[in-house]
Assembly symmetry: C2
């Protein structure tokens, strides 16, 4: 029986791990890898103390920090979380079960899925949600980008440096990125914007071959980058009955408490005014502090009963 | 006329500076030195990314970060801040005046003063508020510590490594530090605890000579360390009419907005559930974002008028 289980290894989970360990809590941090979304970030220049660092390098620094403090890490995916009485039960994709008095949900957010036929099957086989990670694999290839905001425009600009042709497929009449970026998109000879259009279906066997648009056009593509926004990664904690905002993010108070006693949320997965490395890390520190206080109260209650 | 003036150069001010600069705001950061309270911290092991770093070293990393981004810094003390109409007017100890559309108050907190005769005059002449900074100057000397919580006990333990004798002067019946630390205090042969007693007056010409206690005792001391808690450094912003909590900290919402339009607060100076380097830095990032939004709105209003 752990005092706390930390779900997620991005900046929020890392900071929660550091603080929980410093509070001497019996704990485990469950994550597939350390760093979360920063692994998808090329360079970071706004995390105080590191004037300029690659996302991958900062993730390594975070991992080193956890190792030095001997934070126990279970490298797996969180599959499901339930609450039975006052106990949390966490199951992982590698078939293990963990129990705890409290949990810190720091599972972050991920790129929104298109939700069309073929998408799931072709993920990682031409369909990507991270241009920073995968753009270089498409040298001299034909790729598409779905979306029209800043991140879609940035993905298109990056892809245009590698690919021979970049289609930007956008449901609106005009790209809505910041002005300088929008201008670059429309003036780049490699980029062609297809307006007022959605992707209806993806076709391919072992890898992506075509995108079928909602106007019936079939577009031959080697790669498709989906950049239509973020969504919280709340799938694994669905059964807890957490209170969410209309966009699906977990509501907390300033102490990171959710509506479920003993369950705290930190970082991108919660309703918050700003989603940055430093704000996620601060959330994690606060969540660990709140979990520590909660666990002490629960243990005193238990002792009083005995 | 600046878009934003950042008051303070601790972790909150530093992060606000980084973010304001990345938002391309016309700005100045006013502080006596970079780092704030971390300069008084021996070692920091809970700022994610730096497994173990001295406070002074982290302060240097912060300063380097500001330099790389070319954040303009005015090295002086903030003397007063007023709001005239929609404009903030900031005066500094070196006689300069700055004006802005918004301010970020990140002046932090400082050790509480005793408020007794002689204290002001003897500050830096035997009277200290930072054992970490000054303990080593009292080798084989007789020193006092006022207070009985964790920080007072830690100061006494540290001082006992240098001084020949350490008096702990505490107003209550028993030291209230964490159990292990309390035990160390009472079992250390160099430390003598004087209970149920306050300091009434400090005597000394060029340097501290004696502390007069409220029971009339005169204690000959070379140094006196005041460890009776923290208080927000709100002196310079007193005239703004900011809403404060009962302990004097500035109230904000989660976007760091105060009750005064255009004035934001970040870090230790505001009411917050946790006062740490990473939480202060996150506050600064959020405050800069809110100031950026505010300045854009104000500029659009101004343009509409013209």
């Amino acid at each position: 029986m752990h005092d706390v289980i930390i779900l997620g290894g991005g900046p929020a989970g890392v900071a929660a791990g550091i603080y929980a360990k410093r509070y001497n809590m019996n704990m485990v941090l469950i994550t597939e890898s350390i760093g979360g979304l920063i692994n998808e970030t090329h360079e970071i220049d706004n995390y105080p103390g590191f004037p300029m660092i690659s996302g991958a390098e900062l993730a390594m620094k975070f991992e080193e920090h956890l190792r030095k403090l001997e934070v126990p890490i279970e490298y797996s995916e969180v599959e499901s979380v339930e609450k039975q009485g006052e106990k949390f039960i966490v199951k992982t994709a590698n078939g293990k079960t963990f129990e705890s008095i409290s949990i810190i949900i720091a599972l972050g957010s991920r790129k929104k899925r298109l939700g069309v036929e073929g998408e799931k099957k072709l993920k990682g086989r031409g369909v990507s949600y991270c241009a920073t990670c995968d753009a270089a694999f498409f040298k001299d290839k034909v790729v598409g980008v779905v979306g029209g905001n800043d991140s879609a425009a940035e993905a298109a600009m990056l892809l245009s440096k590698h690919a021979s042709k970049v289609y930007v497929i956008y449901r609106r009449e005009k790209i809505r990125a910041k002005p300088s970026l929008t201008e670059q998109i429309y003036s780049n000879p490699k980029i062609e914007v297809i307006h007022n259009t959605n992707v209806a279906r993806l076709i391919g066997e072992s890898k992506l071959e075509k995108a079928v648009l909602n106007n019936g056009t079939e577009l031959s593509l080697d790669g498709l980058f989906v950049e239509i926004g973020q969504e919280p990664s709340t799938q694994a904690v669905e059964k807890l009955g957490l209170e969410l905002d209309p966009a699906g993010y977990i509501k907390t108070d300033e102490r990171m408490r959710t509506n479920i006693e003993g369950a705290f949320a930190a970082g991108d997965i919660r309703t918050t005014p700003l989603r940055q490395v430093v704000t996620a890390a601060a959330d994690g520190a606060i969540a660990a502090t709140s979990a520590f206080i909660h666990v002490q109260v629960m243990k005193r209650k238990q002792q009083a009963k005995e």
